[in-house]
Symmetry: C2
Subunit: 219 residues, 2 copies
Amino acid sequence: MEHLPARPGRTQEDRSAATRASLVQATLSLLLSKGYAATTAVDIAAHAGMTRGALNHHFASKDELVIAAFDLHLALVTTDIRSYAGLVSAGALSLNDFIDRVWTIMSGRFFMLTLEEITAARHNDYLRVQLAGRTRIFHDALDGIWNHFFAQTGLAGAEIEVMLNATLCLLRGMGVQTVLRDDPVYYRRLLQFWKTVMAEQIAAAPHAAMKPPRKEPRR
Amino acid sequence: MEHLPARPGRTQEDRSAATRASLVQATLSLLLSKGYAATTAVDIAAHAGMTRGALNHHFASKDELVIAAFDLHLALVTTDIRSYAGLVSAGALSLNDFIDRVWTIMSGRFFMLTLEEITAARHNDYLRVQLAGRTRIFHDALDGIWNHFFAQTGLAGAEIEVMLNATLCLLRGMGVQTVLRDDPVYYRRLLQFWKTVMAEQIAAAPHAAMKPPRKEPRR
DNA sequence: CAAAAAACATACAACCGCGTATGTATGTAT
DNA sequence: ATACATACATACGCGGTTGTATGTTTTTTG
């Protein structure tokens, strides 16, 4: 590939940032489409429209790139969740809607990034340590959002967290299953079941006297 | 490596079966320790105590080996679950104990095989089709076991299945998380929460008049 | 017991991804 | 304008994986 003219007005910092962003985006995209193992440095560079030399200049190794992609991934997800929380505060999103949205995330192609990252981290000590730390921060942020979400239900903090995490784990487990099981009815039933359970849990909660959410009839 | 003397009494079929089993076992083991991508034909052969020529003689490709390993994996898990179901029938296993045991599976190293298989299947059409079919059969078998498990509670079939699958999905999602989050307290809380939910669901079920499980069961 | 077939072992060639080294262009400071 | 730093490109060699081809041992067959 030839040298691009590279508009003269740009500062080094600009170029650098743009290049890095482009590389990280390409990494994210390739992790999704080809998986961690099959994603090669040449691929990433090509996808980002540059050579391996450039890549190597900005990121010492593929892992550094994957970590940056992980950061981007978490940032995107956090933004989503936060916006949902905003909608909830504004009264524009019910509990059921919230669950549906999280499921949209978990069942989407984008969620599969998580699997790639996790399986990669499992066999790579450095990667695992890096991602684990970031995961912890991410979950703390989620807890904050969730607490805010459920503040109006009057639930205790510990209960809020356990319900958040149960929801996420359930949907995550369902999301994992979508790879080998294509059965929309099955997932819809699970979602419905979970919504019912959540509603019951909230209604039965000790401090839920003030604003009990509408309880849906069983089944 | 030298030729092993190979006891003369064995028939070709015996040798073949033993070799294949050895290769499949080695594949399973390596998928766990190194992951799908890093597992190479040379590795597998070496672990099985033979050369790549032997491997290639019995399995045309790595994928065939992985599929065989998947079969073995499912067979082992099914055996476990079935034995648990047997204990339940014999009155030797409560619902809580059952959940604990499934969690032991999901949080164990062995469960990570699932992640390896799934992420591998995601980028390999042939593998995905093969594993998906086997997964379907596996779940049908599970449904059978589960129905038997809950027969005494008087729950309807559809409810049994949804509760089974919710349990599995929840624990699977938790299992996935163990890679990047080491927090026993966190998982214990989730388990406790789920046991409570399950007990409530069973108690509140329409036909649960005959043998409602005790709330704090201790055989 | 000889021949065939199956179960293995060994060897070689080709490819691929990676690290590294080194060259060139562009921006920046003085 | 010169010198230096940064951003990128190109090239080479190494290790590792795979496919294939071919040799050797064990079992079965007649």
